[in-house]
């Protein structure tokens, strides 16, 4: 075991997989010699060789197309898209090809690719380095979309994703790469040093895709969150002073519907928290599922706390970002019923 931040944990997952499976290879913009703009692939080329971890042209469509072809050949490529904001040129490859190849060929071909990509705000990245597009991937049947919230999950889930025979979009909450973030942007930065989930095995282990984690047990209201928002949720719950149950979904697709239903049927209330803008966001799907399955247990309308329906703004980052105060207000509103 070692104390790792998320970058080190992700790097360790890639290192372990390069070591144990010669069919795993990594490529993407700046991931080779330089080790990635966030250092997730640091020293992997030096350790495993030029053809195992190498730079790609600035061509997201080309990167994903090549990865699909490699996957069809029998490799397990782990391409990186430097920021998920830049993934849209590859959207046709993900939607029309990766997600459907197995289905349309009746299992003759498939694309066991893991697309790693940093997402999310809180870093003053403006419109093009802050977005949270998980809902558009979740809507594409045939893709898996996962979002870890801590170093232990990040490593275990990345190994699971690489070993999975389906295409996986692996979204990394870049705001919490170096330390958990509770949404109090004016406070001193924290590190992962004393966090229980920063204690990470150095070898191979997996965290299954599709299992939520209960971060905090509670009786009165269920909070659903993932990625950075798990930490913001804890702070919002503390501010509200309610006995909330916090579920870290960890995986958007496949979704752990049982964990959600069990919790909401127990508490009778639910507030959903995500960074992505609200309209058409993944919170809408969660809300519909809960309404379908927990209607007679609900004591209050399901709440959604999310980014506003504007592009991600620069100067207004903290007005946009759904911080602990907004969650606390939504929890109070739910408790009034």
């Amino acid at each position: 075991m070692a104390t790792m931040n998320m970058i080190q944990a992700l790097n360790s997952a890639l290192d372990v997989m390069l070591e144990c499976d010669p069919d795993v290879l990594i490529f993407g913009e700046d991931v080779g010699y330089f080790g990635g703009v966030f250092r997730v692939t640091d020293k992997l080329q030096e350790k495993h060789g030029l053809t195992r971890c190498f730079d790609a042209p600035i061509s997201e469509g080309g990167i994903i197309a090549a990865a699909i072809g490699m996957g069809a050949y029998g490799l397990r490529p782990v391409p990186e898209i430097q920021f998920v904001d830049y993934i849209l040129p590859a959207f046709d490859q993900l939607v029309s090809e990766a997600a459907r190849l197995r289905y349309r060929s009746n299992g003759e071909f498939w694309a066991p690719i893991t697309v790693r990509s940093p997402y999310g705000g809180g870093i003053f990245g403006g419109q093009t380095h802050s977005q949270s597009p998980e809902a558009i991937f979740a809507h594409i049947t045939g893709l898996k979309t996962v979002i870890p919230s801590n170093p232990y999950d990040a490593k275990g889930m990345l190994i699971s994703a690489i070993e999975c025979n389906d295409p996986v979009i692996f979204m990394e909450p870049k705001r919490i790469y170096n330390g958990p973030f509770n949404g109090r942007h004016d406070q001193e930065l924290s590190t992962w040093a004393n966090h229980p989930n920063a204690d990470v095995p150095t070898g191979h282990y997996t965290v299954p895709l599709g299992q939520a984690a209960t971060v905090r047990e509670g009786r009165d209201v269920t909070v659903l969150a993932y990625g950075t928002m798990v930490h913001v949720a804890l702070e919002g719950i503390a501010e509200a002073g309610v006995d909330a149950e916090l579920i870290d979904l960890r995986s958007i697709v496949p979704l752990d519907i049982e964990a959600i239903v069990t919790s909401v049927q127990k508490t009778g209330r639910c507030v959903i928290l995500h960074e992505a803008s609200r309209f058409g966001g993944f919170g809408g799907e969660l809300s519909a599922l809960i309404q379908e399955r927990c209607f007679y247990h609900l004591k209050a309308p399901i709440g959604r706390v999310a980014g506003w329906d504007t592009p991600y703004p620069h100067a207004f980052e903290w007005d946009y970002f759904p911080g602990p105060g907004r969650l606390a207000r939504a929890l109070h509103a739910a408790m009034e019923h």
Partner: protein, 409 residues
């Protein structure tokens, strides 16, 4: 009145529209046999004339001439001829069945049969072709079962793709034929990734991909060429220039300004431009590119210069946008007739044997269609609806399980 120096927007128009006389005088070809054949390992900088020429082996009389003559044995040529004829007979029959309402959709390869037939025979077992929807002759040259084609086209109970795909968008891994899609161009980069994987593993497998001349305008084309060039991927990238992308002539994709083979120059790749109605020329250029790739010299771009003699699909009527008799005047002739003429000239073939072969293939196609019809045409028979829910993921998640239950299956 526009000012003398005012700017003008240029919108390309083809040489002739419906009702106008066919014109191909803008096309300028060298004589068959005129283009020299460089070593397949020659540096790219010595090959930059080739994209602006046209490699031809068969002359107007049907003789094989020049350095590109692959000097193939008769049995190989006859295999190619048979695959081309079978493609044509099959296309003709299945097109008519669509008109009779027995399936929803069909696309013919008419005029382009030499391409898949020659390349399928040049490439080795284990190589992978990333096809377009107009290379049925690839499968025919490898003896893909006709009944599987028919059942796929009918989307019936025995459809190898379980009713999930539009007719003719086949997948046949064992025949070196990658899964087709109706989105044009999106597999061009897969061929490069596939070839990179072969090189990464130290294997000797190659890929070959097709894209239409119209689709070279998509980013997929340029992305694939970039990756092929950067990583020296052992792949053969082919632009099938059949002059028409539905109703847009090749000029709308840039053919007025340069050739499609010449796009290779900017990527530092060799670009060959070949008469693709000439089985021998397609064979020779593909063989050249194959040798180059196997020598670790990377990819070659081949422009397969041909003519789409039929409509785009059963949903298209080409007489609405081009002269009805344009195909008959294509200056490079018909690929089947040209190979037949060559074989006759060699003394290996005659009209009687040709007719006998057509009759025999027609019988085979009729039998396959009958077999398919007995299982059922579109709507009369289909795979179990359970198949709709299979293969979305390796293992279904709860959504699939619940929705299947909701449908009562």
């Amino acid at each position: 009145m526009p000012r003398p120096n005012s700017l003008r927007l240029h919108v390309p128009e083809p040489a002739a529209r419906p009702g106008e006389p066919v014109r191909f005088d803008q096309l300028d070809f060298p004589k068959a046999g005129d283009v020299p054949k460089p070593a397949s390992t020659a540096p790219e900088r010595e090959l930059r004339e080739l994209p602006f020429s046209l490699i031809r082996v068969l002359d107007d009389e049907g003789r094989a001439v020049g350095e590109w003559d692959p000097k193939l044995p008769s049995e190989t040529l006859l295999r190619g001829l048979k695959a081309m004829l079978l493609t044509r007979v099959f296309d003709d029959r299945l097109f008519r069945l669509q008109r009779q309402g027995k399936t929803s959709f069909y696309m013919k390869s008419l005029g382009e049969e030499a391409i898949g037939a020659a390349q399928s025979l040049v490439m080795a077992e284990g190589d992978m072709c990333f096809p377009t929807y107009r290379v049925l002759s690839w499968l025919m040259a490898r003896d893909y079962p006709l009944t599987d084609l028919v059942n796929q086209i009918f989307s019936n109970e025995k459809d190898p793709l379980k009713g999930r795909q539009l007719p003719i968008l086949y997948s046949a891994r064992d025949y070196g034929f990658y899964s087709l899609s109706g989105n044009v161009g999106s597999r061009f980069g897969h061929a490069v990734g596939w070839a990179m994987a072969s090189a990464y593993k130290g294997d000797d497998k190659l890929s070959l991909a097709y894209i239409g001349e119209g689709t070279t305008a998509e980013g997929d084309f340029h992305e694939a060429l970039t990756f092929a060039s950067v990583y020296r991927a052992p792949t053969i990238l082919c632009v099938t220039n059949n002059q028409w992308a539905i109703s847009s002539f090749a000029g709308i994709a840039g053919a007025e300004e340069t050739t499609f083979a010449a796009k290779a120059i900017a990527y530092g790749l060799p670009g060959l431009r070949v008469d693709a109605n000439d089985f021998l020329a397609v064979w020779a250029t593909t063989q050249w590119a194959r040798e180059r790739a196997l020598a670790n010299q990377g990819a070659t771009l081949i422009e397969l210069f041909t003519y789409r003699a039929a409509g785009h699909s059963t949903s298209d009527d080409p007489t609405k946008y081009r002269p009805a008799d344009e195909a008959e005047h294509w200056p490079l002739g018909d690929p089947v007739e040209r190979l037949k003429q060559h074989l006759i000239l060699r003394g290996d073939w005659d009209e009687d044997r040709h007719q006998t072969m057509i009759e025999s293939l027609t019988t085979d196609v009729r039998a396959a269609v009958k077999f398919g019809e007995q299982i059922g045409t579109l709507g009369k028979s289909k795979p179990s609806v359970k198949e709709m829910f299979e293969g979305v993921f390796e293992e279904p998640d709860w959504r699939i399980v619940e929705q299947r239950r909701e449908l009562g299956i």
